[in-house]
Amino acid sequence: MITKKELAKVIDHTYLKIQASDMEIKAICYEAINYGFAAVAVHPVVVPLASRLLRGTKVKISAAISFFSGLYPLKIKLHEIEDAISNGATELDMVMSLDLVKEKKYDLLEREFKEFAKVGKGLTTKIILETCLLTNEEKIKACELAKKAGIDFVKTSTGFKKAGATIEDVKLMRKTVGQAMGVKAAGGIRNWKDAVSLIEAGADRLGTSCGVDIVESYSIN
């Protein structure tokens, strides 16, 4: 079993409420430092604040790009990424254009993924598939293209749709991308049992807003 410290280290401390005040963002950042979380995952509008607070710490600043539909033209997506990087983002969680998968426009999807990897070079890039809306075949295709494009992580969900990460999806994604690529499970991860079972299924990063509760209630030191 993994230790408490190891568990904290794979958690992206996520706070995507639209009414987030500066005080709440500060609290999230200090929690991330104290617990040793991997990153804070926030909307781009609060990236400048998070970046100021987390400078000189190990905690990464992950910007939620193209949230939550992902249905923005590529040039808008790329502009949003560049803007987030200039504001201090060190990781990028971008929603893929789901319509390109559904319409089997794989050449355009591949282009989106490649541009994402290129603009995000030097940072940690995560592409969100929104698995609850995809067939297994579509999940596999998106994972293969993400790997080919050189993206760092495939990620299950935004957390804004009907379902989040499942054990089956994480297993399928891990099997498809192999060991050299990251798999991030996100959405609906409420307690340490969810967290540990997703890690055992193959996830090496977890996106959750319950990070503090998860780590506090985890009994293995």
């Binding site: 500066d22 781009p44 509008v45 939620a64 808008i76």
Partner: protein
């Protein structure tokens, strides 16, 4: 209000993650059938919608930083410019709720002003203050700032997950009268409820579902 008049008060949304060209096309066909006022499409679907709606008076609307308002002013300005380029009839933009909730009203205002500047004379800009997450004081603050920034119409909520309450429409109309137009968000959209909202002073109703009364 007969069905035709009711239809002319309705804007249907196609903004969901699940939207594909096929799905948007089906909804646009229904817009034509029921003579809706307009359709809400993602930035990348405006040209497609324009082709389908050629020779009709149905309007095409799009969004900036929707529905979370999590994007920066820079990115919203780019989205407004994009909407102008492809010829949308109006752009509905979310505001800087983080600044509003932190009491930084100057930042709320400068975000608004930059967007108004970007839209100037080229596209109608409508703000979405998200009344569902605001206190009454914040609602008035945001309306005041909108009027000062030069935005003449707001839409109460994005509809994810909040619906418009009639008290908000009445309040805005009572305080601002014709100085600030207001649109409502209602899903599901029933005719009776819509009637109340319109009679209270809302100029249009936005919905994710084709109103069942018209089906």
């Amino acid at each position: 209000m007969n069905d035709f008049e009711f239809g002319k008060k309705i804007i249907v949304s196609t903004l969901e993650t699940e939207s594909t060209h096929n799905r948007v096309k089906k909804i646009i066909e229904k817009c034509k059938k029921y003579n809706f006022y307009g359709v809400f499409v993602n930035l990348g679907y405006i040209s497609f919608a324009k082709k389908l709606l050629k020779n009709t008076d149905i309007k095409i609307f799009t969004v900036a930083s929707y529905p979370n308002g999590g994007m920066t002013t820079e990115v919203k300005v780019k989205q407004i410019q994009y909407a102008i380029e492809v010829g949308a009839d109006a752009v509905y933009s979310c505001l800087n709720y983080n600044a509003l909730k932190s009491g930084r009203l100057d930042d709320v205002k400068s975000d608004m002003e930059r967007m108004v500047e970007a839209s100037q004379n080229s596209i109608e800009l409508i703000f979405v203050p998200q009344f569902g997450i605001l206190t009454n004081e914040e609602k008035i603050n945001v309306c005041d700032l909108s009027v000062k920034a030069g935005c003449r119409v707001i839409k109460t909520d994005a509809g994810y997950p909040y619906n418009t309450i009639i008290e908000d429409i009445l309040m805005v109309k009572r305080v601002y009268g014709d100085a600030l137009g207001i649109e409502a968000s209602l899903s599901p959209c029933k005719k009776e409820e819509s009637n109340y909202i319109i009679n209270a002073g809302a100029r249009l109703i936005h919905t994710r579902n084709i109103p069942s009364i018209l089906q």
